[in-house]
């Protein structure tokens, strides 16, 4: 085989590989990427039931309850609108999780509108605000909720 032909074959292989990667990425992305919902989105668009999603907002004051088993909690997540989402979570909450501050939860909605979180995302400092929320013009304020 001539060196030139071999180079063309290798080039073609590389392009095929890139194509496969793109296809794989797109199909995996369609099934696995999770969309972000604020409480207002859920109120407007309905409950996304078919897939794992992320929700975020402020933990409403006086909404946090611990269940008798000691490791399950539920709380309300609100935003600047009156809408709220009730979230249940079984696990140890991040160190900085508390009422009146920002939170992001990953998980699924139940048909009754409750959200079962598989993960509560930690925020790393006092001033942290989920970027999904700051970009929507929501600021860290204590009057929310």
């Amino acid at each position: 085989m001539k060196a030139k032909n071999q180079r063309l074959i290798l080039l073609a292989l590389a392009i095929v590989a890139v194509g496969i990667a793109a296809l794989l990425a797109m199909s995996a992305m369609r099934d696995q990427a999770s969309f972000f919902y604020a409480p207002a989105d859920v109120a407007r668009q309905g409950i996304p039931l078919d897939r794992a999603v992320r929700i975020g907002g402020m933990v409403r004051r006086n909404s946090l309850h611990r269940h008798p088993d000691g490791v399950t909690i539920d709380f309300l997540v609100g935003d600047e609108t009156p809408s709220v989402i009730r979230v249940t979570y079984r696990g140890i909450t991040p160190d900085l999780f508390r009422e009146g501050s920002g939170v992001i939860a990953e998980g699924r909605f139940q048909p009754n509108g409750q959200f079962t979180a598989t993960e509560i995302l930690a925020k790393h400092d006092e001033n942290y605000m989920p970027p999904e929320l700051t970009r929507r013009g929501m600021h860290r304020t204590d009057h929310v909720g």
Binding site: M1, K2, A3, K4, Q6, R7, L10, L13, A14, A17, V18, I20, A21, A22, L24, A25, A28, M29, D31, Q32, A33, S34, F35, F36, A52, R54, R66, D69, G70, V71, R90, G91, I92, T93, D95, L96, E106, A122, K123, H124, D125, E126, N127, Y128, P130, P131, E132, R135
Partner: protein, 648 residues
């Protein structure tokens, strides 16, 4: 005064990098040969000056000089000295200074030690390295000055993010940076060789040790970072597909591919243009990673508070360097000769497949990491996490592991398929047997961990094959290095698969005195007591664990409250046993006197990091082997044909 001295050193280093670039460019013109001899000393001096500047910053942190804005914002006089020291790079400005320091020191290393590269290519390489440095010096001096003063001087500093107050901070960032930024050498070599049209086996042999060196540090840095996240975050995971982790994984994937393709170029004069391309891509990934991590578009412990202007600045630098290198590549690629040919069943072909798979994985990580940023710009918030990465990458990574073991068994240029079948029979049988065993003993194991468990022993056995029938004392060191590195991959694979298949998790709110069953362990919750630390106070739980009738041992997870800034963190307690780790984190207490405890039994999880360390050790052996061999055959270094099995 010390801060001003540090800044002055930085300005001097920046001017020297400009001088290095200009002199280097001028020296390459015909008639300017005398200039060639000045470039090396300038590069060394530049490395020295920026190194001193960085030491100055460390000194300011050690002394807690609160008149320096950076120290006041990120340090505290009552912090343990190790965190004062490591705190120098636990912030945006300091970490960027470390970045440029590594860049300049790596350039100085090339100027001091590189003797094989053609002189004009070497000068072009140093000029390219200086060009990269110049941009980042500008960035630091204009947008991110670490030596800025603060007036009035505060009485006390703000303290360091408690999550960073861990011995890991002293080790993980510098190691990672040496790899991450050290790979810039490959980029500059590629640019240099394109400029002087010197892409060939001799060039590849000169470049290989530098790539290997950076790759070893990168491997160690990623492994250490993974373990740090594992015990510090207390979530029981060791890899989260966080964009920051991906930012270090992408250059590693590209560097790993480069390491293999450069061998084809050095040994068989093949894959010329591709190797150059990979060298450009590897450091481009480092720069993209720097942008992701340091621009503030991501939220993570790595992204210190930053303003958007800085992000735009780094993005500009990034576009300039990557664009420039690709443009040069496009203009010069037609002068790069085609490589020697090879058959479909050959060592070269297996390395091409290795490169394709690594590139596909790199592409998948790249898309998964950047896609959310793209959709965000279009107004839709999405997040891409482990489900995407595991589904898309898992199968390819397994196939890659298989190819990895077949490659070293093949001869260069041409081999027989039938001979190969004989060589892989034993490992394949072993894998099949393990597969059967796991299916019978642990039904219901998900398919990806199942395949991982089955592949690992076969891959481990096959990775030893290059040593089969050899006199071990006469085996070249770089072959041993390859075997150890490949074995490390198998070991890490076993750890990942075992962790995801067999981890047992217990979540409970327990009273002191209560006994908890967690996996094979019986754990008695003795009680909690307050514990004072140097700059924190903690509530420590004491748990006495034993397996069956074995010796009991004590676990002491803590919930800490740091003084400054006042921040709660949790410290996990981990007991390492020969067959895995028992991992405990403590949560909140409640009004009934119960405490939340989260307990994981993770069989063989330690193999993940042991494998990572083996990979790095393999790289190190290989590097030693190469350097030793070159010393021994120095006079004929250019003429000596590499032996058939040469592969590191």
């Amino acid at each position: 005064m010390i801060a001003e001295a540090g800044l002055a050193l930085l300005w001097l280093a920046a001017s020297l990098s400009l001088l290095q670039l200009v002199l280097g460019a001028a020296a390459l013109r015909p008639g300017n040969e005398p200039l060639l001899r000045i470039v090396r000393p300038v590069a060394v001096a530049q490395g020295l000056l920026v190194g001193l500047s960085f030491l100055t910053l460390i000194w300011l942190f050690l002394r807690t000089d609160l008149s320096v804005k950076l120290v006041a914002a990120n340090s505290h006089s009552l912090k343990p000295w190790l965190y004062k020291f490591a705190g120098a790079w636990g912030n945006h400005e300091g970490s960027m200074l470390l970045w440029v320091t590594v860049l300049a020191v790596a350039g100085a290393g090339v100027a001091l030690f590189e003797r094989r590269l053609r002189q004009d290519t070497l000068i072009a390489t140093l000029a390219a390295q200086a060009a990269i440095g110049l941009g980042f010096y500008l960035y630091i001096l204009i947008a991110s000055n670490p030596f800025e003063r603060l007036f009035p001087v505060p009485v006390e500093g703000n303290g360091l993010n408690p999550l960073l107050q861990d011995p890991g901070l002293a080790f993980h960032p510098p190691t990672l940076y040496f790899g991450y930024v050290g790979i810039s050498i490959a980029f500059s070599f590629a640019v240099g060789a394109l400029i002087t049209r010197d892409v060939g086996p001799a060039f590849a042999r000169a470049m290989r040790p530098w790539v290997l060196g950076a790759w070893i540090f990168l491997t160690l840095g990623i492994t250490a970072g993974s373990y740090w996240a594992y015990y510090e975050l207390g979530w029981g995971g060791w890899w989260f597909w966080d964009p920051v982790e991906n930012a270090s994984l992408m250059p590693w994937l590209a560097a790993t591919a480069l390491l293999h393709s450069v061998t084809v170029l050095a040994t068989r004069a093949g894959l010329r243009a591709w190797t150059i391309m990979l060298a450009v891509v590897a450091f481009s990934m480092s720069m993209i990673g720097t942008f992701l991590v340091r621009s503030g578009i991501l939220t993570s412990v790595h992204a210190f508070a930053v303003d958007p202007l800085r992000g735009a600045f780094i993005l500009g630098l990034l576009a300039f360097y990557i664009g420039g290198a690709l443009l040069l590549f496009g203009l010069r690629v037609r002068y790069v000769k085609e490589g020697s040919t090879f058959e479909i069943v050959s060592r070269e072909a297996s390395l091409v497949i290795n490169n394709l798979f690594l590139s596909v994985i790199l592409g998948l990580v790249f898309i998964g990491t950047l896609y959310p940023l793209v959709t965000q710009a279009m107004g839709r918030e999405i997040s891409v996490g482990p489900p995407y990465f595991n589904t898309a990458i898992g199968p390819i990574a397994l196939a890659l592991a298989a190819i990895m073991t077949i490659g070293p068994m093949l001869r260069w240029r041409r081999d027989q398929l039938r001979a190969l079948a004989g060589r892989i029979a034993a490992p394949a049988l072993l894998s099949a047997a393990v597969l059967l065993l796991v299916v019978i003993l642990a039904p219901g194991t998900r398919w990806l961990p199942l395949l991982g468990l089955a592949f690992a022993p076969g891959v481990a056995l096959a990775s030893l094959a290059p040593l089969w029938g050899r006199n071990l004392r006469r085996t070249p060191l770089f072959i041993c290095g390859m075997v150890v590195a490949h074995l490390g991959i198998a070991v890490a694979l076993a750890g990942m698969a075992a962790d995801s298949a067999f981890t047992q998790e217990t979540l409970i709110a327990a009273h002191p005195g209560q006994t908890i069953e967690a996996g094979p362990f019986t754990i008695r919750f003795v009680g909690v007591e307050p514990v004072p630390g140097p700059n924190w106070t903690a509530i420590e739980a004491q748990l006495e664990a034993r397996r069956g009738a074995g010796e009991p041992f004590l676990l002491t997870p803590q919930a800490r409250l740091f003084d400054s800034p006042p921040t709660p963190t949790s410290e996990t307690s981990i007991q390492t046993l020969w067959d895995g780790q028992l991992y405990v984190a403590i949560g909140d207490g409640d009004d009934q006197g119960r405490w939340q405890l989260r307990i994981w039994w993770k069989p063989f999880v330690t193999l993940i990091w042991a494998g990572g360390a083996l990979v790095a050790i393999g790289g190190f052996l290989s590097l030693l082997g190469r350097l030793w061999r070159e010393r021994r055959f120095k006079p004929e270094a250019q003429a000596l044909p590499e032996p058939q099995e040469a592969l590191a």
